[in-house]
Symmetry: C2
Subunit: 239 residues, 2 copies
DNA sequence: AACCGTCTGTACGCTATGGCACAGTGTATT
DNA sequence: AATACACTGTGCCATAGCGTACAGACGGTT
């Protein structure tokens, strides 16, 4: 992996200065990331960090007794391995690919060493952890106070920010698990959004038609975390 | 503030080595922390870090449009200022005293400098951030999948871990805001727990009678984050 | 002792969502 | 073309929790 052109699509790689980038780029290995690849397993050592150029990963907390719920998502605005950035060796949560993509794999010890060496890299990645934390607290808020339809709108926007096209490809079942609700509830909520002309929903596919309208529909549960990302990392998240 | 005896009750101060402690102790100012003192204001620079020896603070996310919800709590197992530990200067959330206590106040720049200087201090505090993150994700899980009665049991346990006696002193109204539910719902849920002999609830007071039973009642929503704290910081959280 | 504000207990109808079940409709396979 | 499977649409009843309202109880103040 070399660094000749600055053609990275990952926002963190783009935000690094050449010196920081040189610390890790030589050790990055290109990799395709297909659903449902598991990037981190709960309570297990993190071997590799994944830096996404395209696609989307979900961070889920697992309820003892089966049911999961999504606590964060990672796309080309970030990378996995927050626990390593915090000096730890394992995470309490599971992370897996939700929309296929590609990116780079980096051994965790390399990242640790690079962060130890470069103050600037450390700053950037800790700022990213803070942005991730803002995303999680925003999820607490949404799950606590927002209706399913609003949470769905928020989620679609977050995925859309990290996706390439206007189309999101996944099943209602999957969405239901992410939001921690019933599959049938998702179907109904999608129809409500479709009825308002904000999306078009067909089998395994959701097309965003009216982004602004979705933001409106999310009733304040979308936006704060995204603004925080922009403030901390310097580049806007999404479009 | 001197460091003659190691009589700190704060777990992070206790977990530090003498060298790390010496970096910050001379700058710590003892302070009484009374309800409803605000320790951090959302989207405002963090001037001081608060290190609690007794009492309890809540970190709340604010819904644009009024309603708040608790995303984390801090007692003598931790300190405020996670954003500063991550190299930032402001937090997205509000933090305020919920149960009066006392502790120390430390200028944020001192903490930043100390973390820059001491690798060990940095490690400890970043590990604490990770524990805090685990607490927040555990909240996502509880709010997503657990019934009010279970969430209430979890919350009582978390407060109990950080309190000195068996008695927790606050109103149903307040509890309702923390959990993001209706005041009347809290009253009913408290009665349910009381009916099972787990607590005794009187005006402004809740007494924990059966801790083990409460853990049972929380149905898995209590425990994971606490275990993660123990793993990361090395000392058990609470009793 | 009388008063008043705060806090708690309770009730009623309403809505969102859960659990479940099953039919219908695409899409892939043979 | 027939078949099988995965996914989606829909309906039914149960229930948790909301919004609201109000009465009673406690405790501080005068």
């Amino acid at each position: 992996m070399d660094d000749d052109q600055l053609n990275f699509r990952n926002e963190l790689l783009r935000a690094m200065g050449p010196q920081e980038r040189d610390l890790i780029v030589p050790h990055m290995e290109p990799i395709t990331l297909d659903v449902p690849l598991i990037l981190e397993l709960e309570n297990r050592p993190v071997g590799d960090i994944y830096i996404l150029e395209a696609g989307l990963a979900s961070i889920v907390a697992r309820f003892p007794g089966g049911r999961d719920i999504e606590v964060g998502i990672v796309g080309r605005e970030g990378m996995t391995g927050a626990a390593v950035m915090l000096g730890g060796d394992q995470s309490a949560n599971r992370t897996f690919m939700q929309i296929s993509g590609y990116g780079f794999k980096l051994p965790a010890p390399i990242l640790s060493a690079a962060m130890e060496e470069s103050r600037a890299l450390r700053s950037l990645l800790l700022a990213y952890v803070q942005a991730l934390l803002a995303q999680t607290t925003s999820t607490v808020l949404a799950n606590g106070h927002a209706k399913l339809e609003e949470r769905l709108a928020r989620w679609l926007l977050m995925v859309h920010d990290r996706a390439d096209g206007m189309t999101i490809s996944l099943t209602h079942e999957f969405l239901a698990v992410m939001l921690g609700v019933r599959r049938a509830g998702v179907t109904v909520a999608l129809h409500l959004l479709e009825g308002k002309g904000l999306i078009r929903s067909t089998r395994r596919q959701i097309v965003i038609l009216n982004r602004r309208g979705l933001i409106e529909e999310a009733h304040g549960s979308y936006g704060a975390a995204e603004e925080e990302y922009r403030r901390l990392i310097g580049s806007p998240l999404g479009r």
